[in-house]
Structures are given as C-alpha cells and as structure tokens.
C-alpha cells in the first residue's frame, strides 16, 4: 500500500430540488457571478430560467457557448477577460464536464496577470483562483469532485489535462433529474468515461482489497445503472446511482493507496479527441479493449482475472488467460450493447494520422512510465487495432 496526501474540500449537495440552496451557497461567496454554460440544453430543460430566477438579486455576467472538449480560444480567454472586466467574485458552471473544466481554467486565469496558458501548461503555478460552484447536468467526468480540467488548443492539437487543488469546486449541486434529458449517446459516453476513470486506477501494480472492492462496485454500478438509464431516461434511481458513481471518479477515493497507473487510456484518447474532436467517452471505449488485449501478459494476467471474476462474474476455476480474454470480450460487448460505435472508422478516423497521433502521445503523455510501459510503436499499434 502506497502513501498519500489527500483532501477533497468540495461540498456535494445531492438530490432532487437541491438547487433551492443555490442563493444561500453563492451568497456566502459573492454577488458578482460569471454564469458559464454550453449550448442550448440548459435553456430547453428550463434550468437557465430557474437559475436566473433564483439569482435575481445577483449580478450575472454570461459566458455561453462552451463546447465539448472545451477550447482555450475562445472560451477560456473570453471567460478570463469577463472576470477581470466585471470584477467577478464567483463562477457558476452549469453543465457537464466541459463547462466545469473550462470554468476551472478561467478561475485560475482570472487571478493571474499573464497568459492563462502558462498555468494550464504548468509553466507557472497559480497562486489563487476564483471560487467555482457548479450545477451538474451530465454524469460522466467527475470534474464536479476533483481539481482537474482538460483544455484543448486547436491550433497545436494540444489537449492538456491540468490540475490544481485551488480549483476544487467549492460546492457541486447534483440533481439527477437534470440528467433525464441527456441523450442515449451522451449517457453511454458518460458511462464509458466514468468506467475508464475507474479502470485507470484499478489496473496498476500495487492495490488494496478495499480499493479493488470500491472500483469493482463502481464498475458494476455503472454498467447496471447505465443500461437502466438507457431503457428509461427518467428512472430517478438509476440516474442518481450513475451520477454518484461518476462523481467519485477522479478525486482519488477509488484508489487511495494504489500505485499510479499512468492513465494510459486517457493519454491515448486525448490525442484522438484533440485531432478529431470526437466524444471523449467514445474514444475511450474504443481504445479500452484493444489496450487490454495489448497489455495482457504473464505479468498482468492476474489483474484481468480479478476484474473478470469480480466485475463480470466469470467462473474463477477457468484458466487465467481464458478468464482474461473473456473479460476483455465482455468489456467490448458491454460498450457495444450501450450503443457506442466501437471502431475508430465509425467516427470517421482512418489510418492517415495514426503515426502522428502516436508520436504526439509518446512525447506528451509519459506513457513509458505507465503500469505497462508504452512506447510510440506500442501506442500506434493500439490505435491501429482500434481502427
């Protein structure tokens, strides 16, 4: 068991109707609010109007139009500018992981005099950040309970995961009913994203009984509840269980005491969605079984056996490699069953830029230190298997 230094100060307010507490929570922080959101979905579901009504005594500046795979230019830059111009005291992110990730970058950038990219690219350590509060509308990334964000810079094909405890959300409002209108495609992609967060922590060298149980419970809960959400999008219990399993995804609680894995699936996928702007969760789902098969070996097989037996209930008396192969097949089949296109070609990605992406990942993601070290040619091979 490894040592750790852990703290998650974020307050989680979970349940139907919790948004009523928004004025009280925001009011304790400040009255000048940057309202950050994405496309029209929060208007369609009535959440925009609800927030405006609750915050009628606050001064609101809006930053709409934050895209999936949120962009440094214009979203982060616009947000930072608005915060500085209007003396914003708190950022209210209403949306999914992209809106939240973008808001975190804005929060740090707003308290920094230079180019915010200095912070995102770790050239400069932030000294302060605006407080961020969020209302979650998509169960997926766990950004609502961690201090990470992923920002894309189109002109350089960079998609950078940055992190700073300063940008932990102060408070996350988690109302499962706000995810009732999430499309089947995004529900499935959110599940795949959250499952991958857990897998990135589970597949490692040093792990504990407790963490293995936590991870296996998270994976099973996500698989069962996602299918229930797809069958009945307004199944409160399923949406609630799915949301909470996602929320715990990246704050460490699934793996405190585990050795680091290097997060190879995310490392590879970041190149895919940076080069092709695809849905992150779909990219992850496609790569996952190919990565699993690629790294399966005498050294790693026991890990896949535990995964297969405890997550999929595969017969533990079978041969180890047989269990592992079945577990990998079952992983593929599950993603297929929830409707994820399971080949890169299905997303319009071909052979053309495989080597370029593999090179980009090899240079930027440090996967030579992953649980199973991956070289540039390994990464290219996994990407080709995923075509």
């Amino acid at each position: 068991m490894q040592g750790f230094d852990y703290q998650t100060p974020t307050r989680l307010i979970f349940g139907e109707g919790v948004i009523q507490k928004l004025p009280e929570v925001l009011g304790a922080i400040g009255r000048k609010v940057l309202l950050a959101y994405g496309g029209g979905s929060i208007r369609k579901m009535g959440l925009y109007d609800k927030v405006m009504e609750l915050l009628k005594d606050f001064e609101i500046v809006e930053l709409p139009g934050i895209q999936p795979n949120p962009k440094y230019d214009p979203s982060v830059l616009d947000g930072v500018r608005l915060c500085k111009e209007h003396g914003i005291e708190v950022i209210l992110a209403v949306g999914g992981g992209s809106v939240l990730d973008c808001s975190k970058a804005i929060a740090a950038g707003a308290k920094y005099d230079g180019d915010p990219w200095d912070l995102i690219s770790y050239q400069v350590k932030a000294k302060a950040a605006l407080p961020v509060v969020d209302i979650l509308t998509l169960a997926a990334t766990g950004s609502e309970y961690d201090f990470y964000g992923v920002i894309s810079r189109t002109e350089t094909n960079d998609k950078i995961g940055y992190g700073d405890p300063l940008v932990y959300p102060v408070c996350s409002f988690l109302d499962p009913t706000y995810t009732f209108t999430v499309s089947k495609k995004q529900t499935a992609a959110g599940c795949a994203d959250a499952m991958n967060h857990i897998m990135e922590q589970y597949f490692c060298e040093d792990h504990t009984l407790l963490n293995d149980g936590f991870c296996e419970a998270g994976l099973k809960s996500l698989m069962i509840n996602t299918k229930a959400c797809l069958e009945n999008p307004e199944d409160f219990r399923a949406r609630a269980e799915m949301m909470f399993a996602c929320t715990l995804g990246c704050n460490g609680i699934y793996s405190l005491g585990n050795s680091p894995s290097g997060w190879p699936l995310h490392g590879i996928e970041h190149a895919l969605s940076a080069y092709y702007d695809i849905t992150h969760g779909e990219g992850l789902a496609i790569i996952t079984p190919r990565w699993m098969r690629y790294v399966l070996s005498e050294r790693t097989v026991d890990r896949f056996v535990k995964y297969g037996v405890n997550v999929f209930g595969i017969d533990p008396t079978l041969d180890s490699f047989e269990i592992a192969e079945q577990a990998i097949d079952r992983t593929f089949i599950f993603f297929e069953e929830i409707g994820i296109p399971m080949r890169l070609r299905d997303l319009g990605i071909g052979e053309e830029r495989i080597d370029e992406m593999a090179h980009h990942v090899a240079v930027n993601e440090g996967l030579e230190n992953a649980w199973v070290p991956l070289s540039e040619s390994d990464i290219a091979a996994i990407l080709r298997e995923s075509l």
Copy 2:
C-alpha cells in the same frame, strides 16, 4: 437513493514517516499547542519523544491521561481550562479514538464561555472551535476523518455521541507503523468497532449498488487484514489496509445516499460501556449477532442474504433464511476467532442492570426510529441474549 449534503474537509497524510510534515502543518495554524494523549503507550513506542523533538520550536502544553471512553470530568474540563489559560491555538491529539474524541470536545469547549456540556448535549450550538490535528495510533473509530466524538459522564451513566462539522480534524497523520504495538485485544476490538460502523450503514432500508459494494469491500478488507495483523503485528500492508478501512468508517463515504439506520448497535453498546466501562468494540461484537438474529424476519432477510453471499461467499442458491442464519453464525465465529470474548458475562456483566440499561437506551437513543424499530423490551431482550 436518498439526498445528502456532504463535505469532509480533513486532510489525510498517510504512510510511513509522514510525521515529518507535522511542523509544517502545525506551523501554518499556530505555535501554541495543546498536546493531548492517553496513557504511557506513546512514550513506550518513542512517539512522544519524536513529537517533542519535531515541535521543539513550538510552545507545548500537555494534557496526558485521557482514558478510553473519555471522561467529561476531568479530561474535557481540564483540556478546556488549559486552552483558555494558555491561549492555545491548536490541539494536537496523539492516540486513538478516545484521545481524538476528547480533543474535539475540548476544541469546541475552548471557544465557548459556558459549561462545555451544553455543547456536547446539544443544548447550545457551538459557534467556533479550535483546530484539531491528530497522529493516529489505533485503527478503529474513524474519528480521524469525521466530526463526531463520544464523551462519558460517569455520575449520570451518560455516554453521548455528539457531532459538529466545526470539529473535523484539520489534518490526520496516519502512519501504520504506529499501530504495530497495538495489543491483540485492541486490534480485534478496533476491527469490531470499524466493522460495526460499516454494518450500521449497510443494514438499512434504502441503499445503492455502489454503497453496498463499498461496505462489503470494507468488511472483507477488515476481516482479512485484521487476521493478518494478529498473526504478524508488524505486517505493514495489513496494518495499513486495516487503518485506512477504519478511517473511512464514519465520514459517510460508505453510505452516501443510503437511508439512515438509526445506528442500533452503537445505541445499545453506549449503555454497556457507560455502565460498565468496557471496551467499546468488544461490546459491539457481542451485541451484533444477537441483534442480527433478533431483527431477522421476512422483511429483513434479503439484506442478510446479500451480506452473507457477498461478504462470506455463502452459496446464493440456498434458502434465504438458511443463508441469513449462516451469515449470522459466521459473524459470531469471526469475532470469536479474532479473540473477542463473546458473552457479556465474560466481561463481568450480569443480569442485574439489564433493565436499567434498556430503559436508558430506550429513553436516549431513539431506536424506535431504527431500521428495525426497537422498544425498551426489544433492547432488554437483545441484551439478555448477549449475556
């Protein structure tokens, strides 16, 4: 799935040698320190000297002699007086749950002008509390990661669990090597205490797949690792895994979204250890299988089936009541195997005060609202079964 409002701000620093960070952590808070501890064990293991050496630039006031089932008089009262007299800025609790619980009560009392019992008995809500930092030497109560404490008042046989988010520890130092010298008796009692914390959250009406998996993982980890600790008290991994499973015990993470159970085992046991000053974990272990059998019914059997199948691996194809009975037997046998005396008579408790204790519990613990409601006669029956 139930709503919740959750926040655990405590920083956990876990691993061998982490105490080196103590001056940095304390120094950021204050230099006038109340050093609270119990008997001689921290001296014997060299921890007292180590702390004094690390804090040579701090002003230390000592509060030694805090007893198990920590007493309002003298420990809490003495601590509050010392804090006020010396202008203490931070309390450093070095010990197990009793030292921590006592330190939390002192922390609140030190910032209150009246009788600290007003706060402990919830007659007055605390407005502030001194910060508490701790170095844990016993894996058991989870007090290092929650905002609860249990204080005993001898003259009235009161043993009150109080809680206030103000008394969350600021930082807990968790070094498993400090538990190497814990006796077999206390190791087993700590395991029983932590298992009961999990059971009090698991046995309830409304629960989720995720939480059930978390709880089952916690119970299995505790059972396996405690046996390993008893076999080899210096098994770092086992001590580490046991410590961390205990640490998560009462801060909610095992059961966010579950309906409340009413904590009947603790309700009943608090009377036992208040009237007889026994070891809390032993009292809990004795009551547990008797309570289980008493509340087993058509309504509750499915819960015991899940417990039996997932925690003990009992054959799921058996009859439900057969699985439940086996699970209860296995619970009893496990506690016996780790050396806990499993009858109240073994601890010198007879028939004499059963009715008095049952009355005390019925009046003070609200168990008529427990998962399975318990009346005074139910409580007396469970206590009699435990003799």
